[in-house]
Amino acid sequence: MCPLSDDALLDWALARGDADPAVDAHLLDCPPCRERSRAVLREQELLRGAFAEPASPTGLTRRVLPAAGSRPSLARLALAAAVLVGIAGLLAIVGTARHASEAVARGGRYRNAALAPIQSDLGAVAQKIAAARGTLPDPEEPGTSAAYIQLLSVEESLYIEGMAHYLAERAPLSAEQELELRRVIQSFNARIWNREDPATASRNFRGKVRSLLDDEQVLAFEEFSRQGMEWQWKTDLALLMDDLCGELDLRFSEAERVRRALESNYPRLDSPVLRVDRCPSDPLVESAALSGAVRNSLDTSYQRKFDSYLGHVKVARDRAQKLLRKMRSPE
């Protein structure tokens, strides 16, 4: 009896180019099996026909994708190239992540392996902060804020820990310097929370850092800070997109327009350190240009939902700010 079973013949037909050469060799020498193989191949042909891709309905592209027929402009390609260059640089970045979710937790994307656990923790804390922010009760109510403040403190500590790791490889800090830097960062945050002008607070902060660190350490710190701000911009944008898609229940074409509006208008923070008080949605209520661009990118049927979303963001942000001012004061 021929050794080639029906199962082996089916496997051979399903494997296509990856088939067992021994079966091919056998088929050359065995006319009955060759005949059986033809039946299996005819079956494969029939199945390919039965599974033929169904015709797409008219207007599918227009309904699913935006501006059918348009191609990326040179300006967009240039922008994309610039963003990609930025991303490449950011892959080396340290744990400056804030409000980061899954992307942050993927430690493998960071060249500094020691920072991966910190990065992952930062992502987890940031998610909790964003969730807590949405459900913050009125800060005037007693006993409401401890958990939220605790989360911000944890995020701040993780950021400092990440920074210390980064500097340790380039221009290590002494224990005293690290302690003092930690205090200066906390003080900076407290000033910001108490409505000090961010530009003034940043200048003041940079002055303190320069007096505290040597030239090499300052350079390393500034590089850490620069990369962190770039990374934060991109992460915040992605998270805000995620939030908007979910909250407004956007279709792809709408979401794509919103993404473009955000990319063109989402402000870049000029802060020397991670701003743990901010959420990715905050710029929407702080910048009329941004919220206007996003609103205009939406179809009228989504605009009311967007207005309501903005209202919720504003309430949550105001509550969080009130809470922070109440809980922490600058030194």
Binding site: D7, A50, L60, R76, L84, C245
Partner: protein, 169 residues
């Protein structure tokens, strides 16, 4: 082959490239134009949301098919007239008989396909309709190559059995 879409394309371009294939898969799995279109929307929204993640995906088709399959499962559960997914019957031995005869009408094959468990439908659609390699399908279905080969083999045998039943009616 686009090796790394996030480094060379925009989400919009990726969607344009794969829209018809994703629609074809969803239509085959859902058997309904409108549901397939809605599923397509969901798939590409997921692309947009997970664009960062795509930077590490080397086979966008496998990833898209994985998302499409999960989306279709979700739609099927939602519409509640899903044919029960007979997971328990997937590994049950069956006597498929000889290959399906070439004169069999396509309609009968499609009718038989609808009675298969979802995993079988998915693997057959990826193999025959999408023309994906076993490597791509195994990545998409998160199976080892060996497990995929077994699944594909059993799916064809079960399809033969169902076609035989359809033709006997």
């Amino acid at each position: 082959m686009i090796e790394n879409p996030a480094e060379s394309l925009s989400p919009e371009t990726l969607a344009r490239l794969y829209l018809k294939r994703v629609y074809g898969f969803c239509r085959s799995m859902l058997r309904n134009d409108r549901d397939a279109e809605d599923a397509c929307q969901e798939v590409f929204l997921t692309v947009l949301r997970r664009w960062d993640q795509l930077g590490t995906v080397h086979r966008p088709l496998s990833w898209l098919m994985k998302v499409s399959r999960l989306t279709c499962l979700w739609v099927r559960r939602k519409r509640r007239h899903e044919v029960a997914i007979e997971e328990a019957g997937i590994d049950a031995p069956c006597d498929p008989g000889p290959p399906i005869e070439s004169g069999t009408e396509r309609g009968r094959v499609q009718e038989a396909l609808e009675r298969l468990p979802e995993r079988y439908q998915a693997v057959l659609t990826m193999h025959y309709q999408q023309g994906m390699s076993q490597e791509e399908i195994s990545e998409s279905m998160e199976l080892s190559r060996g497990a995929l080969r077994v699944l594909l083999h059993r799916a064809v045998m079960r399809l033969r059995q169902e076609v035989k039943k359809t033709c006997a009616r």
